[in-house]
Amino acid sequence: MYFTYLRRELRRRARQAVVVAAGLAIGIGLVMIVSSASAGVKKAQGQVLHSLYGVGTDITVTKTVTFGSGGPQRFNFGGGSGSGSRPSVTPGTHISRDTLRPAAGESTLPASDVAKVAALRGASAATGGLVLTDTSFSGTIPNYSEGGKFSPGGGAASGAGASGSESSGASSFSISSTSVDGVQISSSDVGPLTSSQVTQGSYFTPAQNTAKVAIVSSTYATQHGVKVGSDVTVAANTVSVIGIAQVPSGGAEVYLPLGAAQSLSGLKEDVTTIFVSASSSSGVSSLASQIQKAIPGSTVATSESLANQVTGSLQSASKLATSLGKWLSIVALVVAFVIAGLLMMAAVSRRVREFGTLKAIGWRTRRIVGQVMGEGLALGLAGGLAGIVLGIAGAEIISAVSPSLSATVGPAFAGAGAFPTTFRHAGAAGRTVLVHMSAPLQGGTIGIAVVLAIAGGLVAGAFGSWRAARLHPAAALRRVA
């Protein structure tokens, strides 16, 4: 009787039932789409951070130079390409230098800090790395007496591998820079480069820690015609290429074993960055606090804090999803719930005689309330089902369209002390990474939809039930008498 009555009643006011269910469906579908889009934005953020930050890394630890303790990149001009006596700057003299140093403003940490961090509670793995820039400068000292003007070649160092040249009279200077990362060879998948990224050749073996071998990015290899077995020059040393890796945009161009990088940069027993993986995502902030205490003066950056410093359409999408999308969903849901409730109340009002009669023949109020609640719940579930279909369709459309989102690490961060060295490639003109957004549906999202559907049904039912419960049978029967 319960279900027969419920089914027939909903069928009788099918149009109204469709309106209520559709309202709930739109609200629930919107929540699902926003939720999926939000997950997609987070995933895109993860991709961006991955490219700028390191594989499997939750936290980076760096140390910035204290003002006055460091200084700008300097070249020790000497004859030839090696070290020697103070240079003679006689016009016409050819000079050449190739240095490997941390990016401007970055300092180093003792390599022993890596073990210290790895031992902290909540740390899954930690590796050290050297994030360096190899800068080569060569040219001939101009003869000022001949009217030549000196103007250092400073081509906009936009991105990796920037170079510039200047020529005036007899002089000719060229400057180029290559991003170089020193990679700690370990079995953990944490750090700027892991074995899984190597597409040609091989990854470093532990025995190669101090060997002059390198893995280059596929982009670098293409640009410079480098193949496995080729040689590249780093800090005026010939290094043999043993592998080519697929590196996300924003990564280094050349990767060296940490020992070799330390040796070539003169930073023995030092690292510039510690890449840390947390045991759980919920423990990242706690671990960051521990690291901050364990290594005073260090800059501890989490992926979340970095995400907040990235600009571009990705950030806009993130804000859209978390602010506008969230509120839009809430408003849509509230409106749907209220409309559903009011329509249910109106339906009960039209059934005053019906419920008055049922009360007259002995139906208890709770039985009538149960009937109305059942109708509301059925509408909620129908709306929820339609909403889930709508949500899945919306998420699929977003994934199919796959809109491009850009993440810009811009000039605003140049020189920002709190920014990790992994962003050294950002450069003065900023660097933009493009990612494609998807809207992955998660089990939790569908669970939320089901809960919302039930809640919507109960809210709608509660409105109607409230009206039905207050109905006095005599008053109901008098109204229609």
Binding site: M1, T4, Y5, R8, E9, R11, R12, R353, E354, G356, T357, L358, K359, A360, I361, G362, W363, R364, R367, H472, P473, A474, L477, R478, V480, A481
Partner: protein, 274 residues
């Protein structure tokens, strides 16, 4: 002439040995005893007195018609008799229990078992078939589905609607709908059948048909039948007519009747006004 207690007995107050509930011992053979019943709607100067001191006794198995002009309190009185409303003052004894003070749960219980209602507008659930409508009266008693079905079918057969059991109310004539409503009222075997203008929405032929059905059931089942009507033709079929006017009731003296279960045609109701 005012209503009198049957057998000249005055109700006495007793206490139920099980529940401690105050009970007035009804006069033997009286199923209802109303004393000083008032019903006022609203408060202050705008209040309306629907009933103004009604004293009335109704015997077990009696067929009483309550007649009077529109708006004089007929339906209000019927609702009080059916435990659907409470008086503002006075007592409504039903089988010794005062419906004015009975708990809501007990009132619901009585409505589910002791009272059967028939309304002018039939009040059938439009989405349920005739049989399902009849079954709704058995839902409060938690009657098993199969038994509900069997009993509903049996009553519909008894009222000549066996072939209409699966029809929706909209597919039935007014007379058939009212018969379904009567079946719904009777399926739970109530002690009292309360009908509020049962023929008010019917033409003459159907009116006669429904009155005949009610008389037959009253006759065969020994029901107490209380019919509110403004139709003198219907009222004249009752054993006794209570006239309600200005919120007060005048009723016939049952001692003069003594015709329960007599053929309807031979009935000449006692017709008394104050």
């Amino acid at each position: 002439m005012s209503a009198q207690a049957a057998n000249d007995g005055t109700p006495t107050k007793t206490v139920d040995s099980h529940t401690g509930e105050n009970m007035r011992q009804p006069t033997p053979n009286n199923i209802y005893e109303l004393a000083g019943v008032r019903k006022t709607f609203g408060a202050g100067p705008d209040s309306v007195k629907a009933l103004d001191g009604v004293d009335l006794e109704i015997a077990q198995g009696e067929f009483l018609a309550i007649q009077g002009p529109t708006g004089q309190g007929k339906t209000t009185l019927l609702l009080l008799l059916g435990g659907l409303d409470r008086p503002s003052a006075g007592s409504v004894l039903f089988d010794g229990r005062d419906l004015a003070t009975l708990g809501e749960s007990e009132l619901v219980g009585l409505r589910a078992s002791a009272f059967g209602f028939v309304f002018q507008t039939f009040n059938l659930i439009p989405t349920l078939t005739a049989q399902e409508n009849v079954e709704t009266a058995l839902v409060p008693a938690h009657t098993p589905a199969r038994e509900r079905e069997q009993r509903a079918k049996a009553v519909l057969e008894e009222l000549g609607l066996g072939d209409r059991a699966t029809h929706l109310p909209s597919e039935l004539s007014g007379g058939q709908q009212q018969r379904v409503a009567i079946a719904r009222a009777l399926v739970k075997n109530p002690k009292v059948l309360l009908a509020d203008e049962p023929t008010g929405n019917l033409d003459e032929n159907m009116r006669d048909e429904i009155v005949a059905v009610l008389e037959r059931l009253w006759h065969e089942r020994g029901l107490t039948l209380i019919v509110v009507t403004h139709d003198s033709t219907v009222a004249r079929r009752a054993q006794r007519i209570a006239i309600i006017e200005g919120g007060r009731v005048s009723a016939g003296d049952r001692s003069e009747i003594g015709r329960q279960a007599a053929p309807a045609d031979s009935l000449e109701p006692t017709f008394v006004t104050s």
